[in-house]
Amino acid sequence: MIDRDQVVHVARLARLELGEDEVGALAEELSSILDHVDRLLAVDTDGVEPTTHVVPLENVLRDDVPGEELTPEQALAPAPSVEDGAFLVPSPKTEG
């Protein structure tokens, strides 16, 4: 079960603005999905290693050699707001 308060909390973590109706719908939908997902909890996974990667690779590294860079114009071209060669954002009222 996931209630409206949890939906609001998680939406805050995910930086998603939700309408009132969305909060209600999500509480229901997520609860119903989690009911299905909860079948996993019945599985005996004692001593089972989690799988993060299906490819058994290690140490895939690159040499410390400069590659192609964007020009500042290219970097800034897709930005919604720009000032003085930098990306402009609204001021944070709180520290990140």
């Binding site: 996931i2 949890q6 939906v7 998680v10 939406a11 973590l13 995910a14 930086r15 998603l16 603005e17 939700l18 969305e22 999500l26 939908e29 997520l30 119903s32 999905i33 989690l34 299905h36 997902v37 909860d38 079948r39 996993l40 909890l41 599985v43 996974t45 089972v48 290693e49 989690p50 799988t51 993060t52 990667h53 299906v54 490819v55 690779l57 895939v60 690159r62 964007l70 290219q74 071209a77 897709p78 930005a79 919604p80 707001s81 990306f87 954002v89 609204p90 001021s91 944070p92 009222k93 709180t94």
Partner: protein, 477 residues
Amino acid sequence: MAGEPLGMLSACATGEAIGSGELDGAECLAFWAERAGDETLNAYLWTGPDDGGQRIAGAPVAVKDIFCTEGLPTTAGSRILDGYAPPFDATAVTRLRAAGLPVLGKTNMDEFAMGSSNENSAYGPVLNPWDRTRVPGGSSGGSAAAVAAGAAPWALGTDTGGSIRQPAALCGIVGLKPTYGAVSRFGMIAFASSLDQCGTFGHSVADAAELLSVVEGLDPRDSTSTGIPGGLSRPTASDLEGITVGVPRNFLEVGVEQGVADRFAEALKTVERLGGTIRDIELPHAELGISAYYVIAPAEASTNLSRYDGVRYGLRVPADDLVEMYERTRGEGFGPEVKRRIMLGTYALSSGYYDQYYGTAQKVRTLIVRDFEAAFSEVDLIATPTTPGVAFELGAKTSDPWSMYLNDLFTVPMSLAGIPAISIPAGLAAPPEGGPQLPVGLQLAAPAFAEQALIESAHALEAAIGFDERPEGGGDS
């Protein structure tokens, strides 16, 4: 060209004809560009073509809009990337260009590849060319529909839990998902990084395999890429002598439509007729695949999609405060299914829930991997229907997310295990509610990097099944 109309010529044959000078590359591109431009299924979000000013060596490729294309619109079906044109090409696209295969257009898709019906595109659903009231499957629905409708000779898609195989099945074409790592993910917009894999669509196994051989390969820009050791060559097998095909009967017991079950049973008979052996196998944890998948994929997606914050590119909804700007941009930029999955994934990773959800799901994933390892010690291939049912009506499953997710029941386990799988047409069947005949897909899966063996058997089966139906109107969509 033996009088064959260009639209019916296989992509492989088209390349050969251009190579031998029988066919002019520019003419071929113009032909397909017109087809793509005339298409009315909403399969394309952008049509060019974009020949990159390079030599044309083969049939042009419809590219799912999840691949970054330098200077060309790339939205992943999302409003949050409306107007975005990346400053670089995805590696798969670079490889197409290097092989002289122009980008024909960018195909519609479920937003950020999240969906099984293409109804989650911010740019409207794609229609199934067999029945315009039905879905083409998803998330690579635009690519599948374009190929099925004759609006593209072949196409690139991506498959995270079935997003190539399922729409291929619902549209009556071939969809090939290789081993995880076969194709570079660089420039392929991430949904769930440990599952996402580029794959191909074609009218034949040979076409799908040929296109895969162009894009596969190790890429220094993707640490998880390997390529397919030894590469791929054109399949030639005409029988299944010596091949054992495993069928996970228990797994297939629930919820398969009768028409699909019938075509699947016939396909297994065809396997035997070609000299292959059918053996029942167990995949005890496969049915848990969907549950594990709907934790792992949303969890990874929730962090992959955090970069869409209105700072560096894409949509920004202005606000005085930073947090408000983030929340409004993302609230307006993402559609309902993407929000649902971001919420689900964020919840599953949040403090106090990680072990319960993500940790457990990763362990169940291990059990699924082991199931396949055990099965492949006894059989060469595993066969299932690609989907439990044929194409469903637009809107039929949108109100119940889990019923939509069940479309991927048979395709998700292979994604979790990272193994290659292909869907080939197995014939037509009427939907349970009645109506016109619709395509049914047969899925074959193989051990990691056994792509060549997979396409050989699929090629032999394809010929024996002899499916040559095209949707009404064929290429004249």
